[in-house]
C-alpha cells in the first residue's frame, strides 16, 4: 500500500511541477467551454435584413414592426425594386430580404392568405436556415394573434415546438460534447504521454526491473489523472450551471458516476496508446488523430448520427463517446434517470472493462 502511495505522490509531483501542462490541463476546459458557449454558436443575433414592401399597408407595417422589435433582426434598409435585391446582397451586410406582395392586407382578408417571400443569403447555409425559421416563427405568431380576433377560423397553423431546449441555445448542445472531448483528451493523452515520457527518460527500465507489478504501475499512473479529470468535469458542470444557466434536470450523483465510468474508459485507452508508442510525440499524435477525431466527428457531438451514412452509423456504436453523450444529454437536458439509461451505461461499463483488460494484457513486462 505504501508502495502505491509513493508512486501516486510521485505522479502528482510531476504534474504539479510542470506548470505549463498543469495550466493546460485545468485551463483548457474553461477556455473550451467559454469558446463554445460564446463564440461558436448557431444562434442568430442582430442579423441585418432588408425589406421590399410592395403594399405598404397596416398588416405589412405590423409584421415589420414585430420583426424589428425582436433582438434577432435589425432592419437595415428598405428597397423599392426587385432589381435592387442582388445589389444589397452583393454588398454583403444584408443576410436576408423580405418581400411582401402587393395588396397584402386586401388579399389576406379576401383570400385569407397572402405571401411573404424570404430570400436568404445561403453562402452560410446553417445561418440562412436559422434566419428563415426565425422569420417564419415571427410571422406565424402574428397570424395567430390575427386569428384571435376572428370569430371563426379553421385555418390550421403549423406550430413546431422545440422541446428540451426551447430557447434553442446551442451551448446546451455543446456542453456534453465539450465535456466528452476534454475528458477524453486529458485522460487518454495525458496518461499515454506520462508513460511514454518514462520510456524516453529511461526510468521505465528501472521501474520494469523493480519488483513492481504491472497493475501497480498502471494504477499509479492512472489515479492522479482520474482526480484531475473529475476536477475538470466538475468545472465544466459548474460553468454550464452558473454562466450559461444550463439546468441539470436529472441526478447530479448519477452524472458524477457516469463521468467516472467514462474517465476510466478513456484512461484505459491512454494506457493502450502508451503500449504501442515509444515516444511522447507518437503518443500525442495517436491520441489526437486516433481519439479526438472520432470523438468529435462520430460521437454525435457536432454531426447528428441519424444523418450519417449507414456504415458510419454502425461504426459510431463502438465509440464510447457516443454513449456517453447520450447519457449526459439524458441526465442534463431530459432529466431521465438510470431506468432509462441503464442500457447505455452497461455498454460503457463493458467497454471500459474490455479496454482495461486489454491494456493490462498489452502492458509489457519487458522492453520492445
Amino acid at each position: 500500500m505504501k508502495l502505491f502511495y509513493v508512486f501516486i505522490k510521485k505522479e502528482f509531483y510531476h504534474i504539479i511541477r510542470d506548470r505549463r501542462s498543469l495550466f493546460i490541463l485545468l485551463g483548457m476546459p474553461i477556455i473550451q467551454i467559454l469558446l463554445f458557449g460564446f463564440a461558436i454558436t448557431n444562434e442568430i443575433n442582430n442579423v441585418n435584413i432588408a425589406i421590399l414592401d410592395h403594399s405598404k399597408d397596416v398588416t405589412t407595417q405590423n409584421i415589420i414592426n414585430k420583426i424589428s422589435a425582436s433582438s434577432y433582426f435589425s432592419i437595415k434598409q428598405f428597397i423599392e425594386r426587385e432589381s435592387d435585391i442582388e445589389k444589397v446582397f452583393k454588398k454583403g451586410k444584408i443576410k436576408a430580404v423580405l418581400i411582401f406582395e402587393n395588396d397584402f392586407s386586401k388579399k389576406l382578408l379576401k383570400n385569407s392568405h397572402a405571401t411573404v417571400q424570404i430570400i436568404a443569403d445561403a453562402t452560410d447555409p446553417n445561418t440562412a436556415n436559422t434566419i428563415s425559421n426565425y422569420i417564419n416563427a415571427i410571422i406565424q405568431s402574428y397570424t395567430q394573434e390575427l386569428n384571435k380576433d376572428v370569430v371563426v377560423s379553421y385555418q390550421i397553423i403549423p406550430i413546431s415546438h422545440m422541446v428540451y431546449n426551447p430557447e434553442l441555445k446551442s451551448v446546451f448542445m455543446f456542453v456534453p460534447g465539450v465535456m466528452t472531448v476534454i475528458l477524453m483528451l486529458v485522460s487518454a493523452m495525458m496518461t499515454s504521454i506520462s508513460i511514454t515520457r518514462e520510456k524516453e527518460l529511461g526510468t521505465m527500465e528501472i521501474i520494469l526491473v523493480s519488483p513492481l507489478k504491472p497493475i501497480q504501475v498502471i494504477a499509479g499512473k492512472v489515479i492522479p489523472y482520474v482526480f484531475i479529470s473529475i476536477i475538470n468535469a466538475t468545472i465544466i458542470i459548474l460553468l454550464s450551471l452558473f454562466i450559461f444557466k444550463m439546468p441539470v434536470q436529472g441526478s447530479l450523483i448519477l452524472l458524477g458516476f457516469e463521468n467516472v465510468i467514462f474517465i476510466v474508459t478513456a484512461l484505459a485507452f491512454g494506457i493502450l496508446i502508451s503500449t504501442i508508442s515509444a515516444t511522447q510525440q507518437t503518443a500525442m499524435m495517436i491520441s489526437l488523430m486516433g481519439l479526438m477525431l472520432p470523438v468529435i466527428i462520430l460521437s454525435g457531438f457536432i454531426f447528428p448520427i441519424e444523418s450519417m451514412p449507414l456504415p458510419l452509423q454502425i461504426i459510431s456504436n463502438i465509440i464510447p463517446a457516443k454513449w456517453f453523450i447520450i447519457i449526459i444529454k439524458g441526465i442534463m437536458l431530459k432529466g431521465v434517470g438510470i431506468t432509462y439509461l441503464w442500457k447505455e451505461t452497461l455498454v460503457l461499463i463493458a467497454m471500459s472493462l474490455f479496454f482495461i483488460g486489454l491494456s493490462t494484457k498489452k502492458y509489457k513486462i519487458r522492453l520492445e
Binding site: F7, I206, L367
Partner: protein, 300 residues
C-alpha cells in the same frame, strides 16, 4: 557464480547485436565489458536484467534464469541504464525515496550501503535532479541502484560524458562496493577504466574478442610495439603510413605506436626513412602494449 552467460545471441530487424556471447562473473567480482558505442553492451545488459529476451542461449543471474525466474532477478539486482534515468523534476531525496520504496525498502534500512556516496550529494538533497552536474547525477543514480542492497549490480556506461575527476571518484566507490560483497558488471568505452576491473571482456560488433585480467590481457598483443616520436606529428603519421613495412600506426599521446610487419625490425632503418622525409628529433623505442593497444590489435 553470480552471472553466467552461455551462447547468447540477439538480433534486431537487420542487425545482429550479439553473436554467441559466453562469459561468467564470479561472486564479488568487478567485471568490465569494454567496447565502443554499438558493440552490443546495452543489449547484453538488458538481457541480463530481464528486459529483453535473447534469441538463443542461456543466462543466469544470482542463480536465477533470466527468462523463467525474471521476478526473482528483479528483486535482487540493481541496474543503472546508460541514459540518465532519474526523474529530473523530483529532488535528490524524492528520487532516492521513490526508488527505495518501489524496491520494497527504505533509505534508513540500507543507509550504510550508500552512506559514502550519499554524503557527497546530501547538501543538495532538496535540489531537483535535473539541476545537478553530470558527476552528481551519476552518484545519485548509483545510490538509487544500490538502495535495495542488490546482490548483483549492472552499470551500463556509468561514466560516459563525465570528467576524469568524477570518473575517478566513481571508480573508487565501485571498489568499496565490491568489498561489501556485491558483484558488479560494468561497461565502459574508456580503456583507462578497464585497468581497474578484476577481469575484462573486449566486445566489438556483438562478439567477445578476449576475456582476461587487465594485467594479462596485454599479453594477447600479437606484435612488438614501438614508440615513435618526432617534431611534427602529422608528418610523422603520414610518413609511417607510407612506410612499406608498416603493420599498424596509431597516435598515442605524444608518440605514435607502431608495429612492423617483419620479425627482424631494425630501428635504424626506420630512423633513416623518417629523416629522409624531413622529420627531426626522431626517437624509436620499444614500448609496453597497453590495454587499448591490445583492444585495437584484436578489433582489427
Amino acid at each position: 557464480m553470480s552471472i553466467s552467460v552461455s551462447n547468447i545471441s540477439k538480433s534486431y530487424k537487420n542487425v545482429q547485436a550479439l553473436k554467441d556471447v559466453s562469459f561468467h562473473v564470479n561472486e564479488g567480482e568487478l567485471f568490465g565489458l569494454i567496447g565502443p558505442d554499438g558493440a552490443g553492451k546495452t543489449s547484453l545488459f538488458r538481457i541480463l536484467t530481464t528486459l529483453l529476451i535473447a534469441d538463443s542461449g542461456k543466462a543466469n543471474v544470482a542463480g536465477y534464469d533470466v527468462v523463467d525466474d525474471f521476478k526473482e532477478i528483479r528483486n535482487c539486482v540493481g541496474y543503472m541504464p546508460g541514459k540518465f534515468s532519474l526523474y529530473q523534476d523530483l529532488t535528490v531525496e524524492e528520487n532516492l525515496n521513490f526508488f527505495a520504496t518501489i524496491f520494497g525498502t527504505s533509505i534508513k534500512e540500507n543507509y550504510h550501503l550508500i552512506k559514502d556516496i550519499y554524503v557527497q550529494i546530501e547538501p543538495f538533497k532538496n535540489r531537483r535532479a535535473g539541476k545537478l552536474s553530470g558527476g552528481m547525477k551519476q552518484k545519485l543514480a548509483l545510490c538509487c541502484a544500490l538502495i535495495h542492497k542488490p546482490k548483483v549490480l549492472f552499470l551500463d556506461e556509468p561514466t560516459t560524458g563525465v570528467d576524469p575527476v568524477s570518473r575517478k571518484e566513481f571508480w573508487d566507490m565501485l571498489k568499496r562496493l565490491q568489498q561489501k560483497g556485491i558483484s558488479i558488471l560494468v561497461s565502459t568505452p574508456y580503456m583507462d577504466e578497464a585497468a581497474l576491473c578484476d577481469r575484462i571482456a573486449f566486445i566489438q560488433n556483438g562478439e567477445i574478442l578476449e576475456i582476461d585480467s587487465p594485467q594479462d590481457i596485454v599479453k594477447h598483443f600479437p606484435k612488438k610495439l614501438y614508440n615513435v616520436g618526432a617534431d611534427n606529428m602529422y608528418k610523422l603519421i603520414e610518413s609511417l603510413k607510407h612506410y612499406e613495412h608498416m603493420h599498424s600506426v596509431f597516435p598515442f599521446g605524444e608518440f605514435v605506436h607502431y608495429t612492423d610487419k617483419r620479425n627482424d625490425f631494425n630501428s635504424i632503418e626506420l630512423n633513416e626513412y623518417l629523416t629522409s622525409k624531413g622529420l627531426n628529433q626522431i626517437s624509436v623505442e620499444v614500448a609496453q602494449p597497453t590495454i587499448e593497444d591490445t583492444f585495437m590489435a584484436l578489433a582489427k
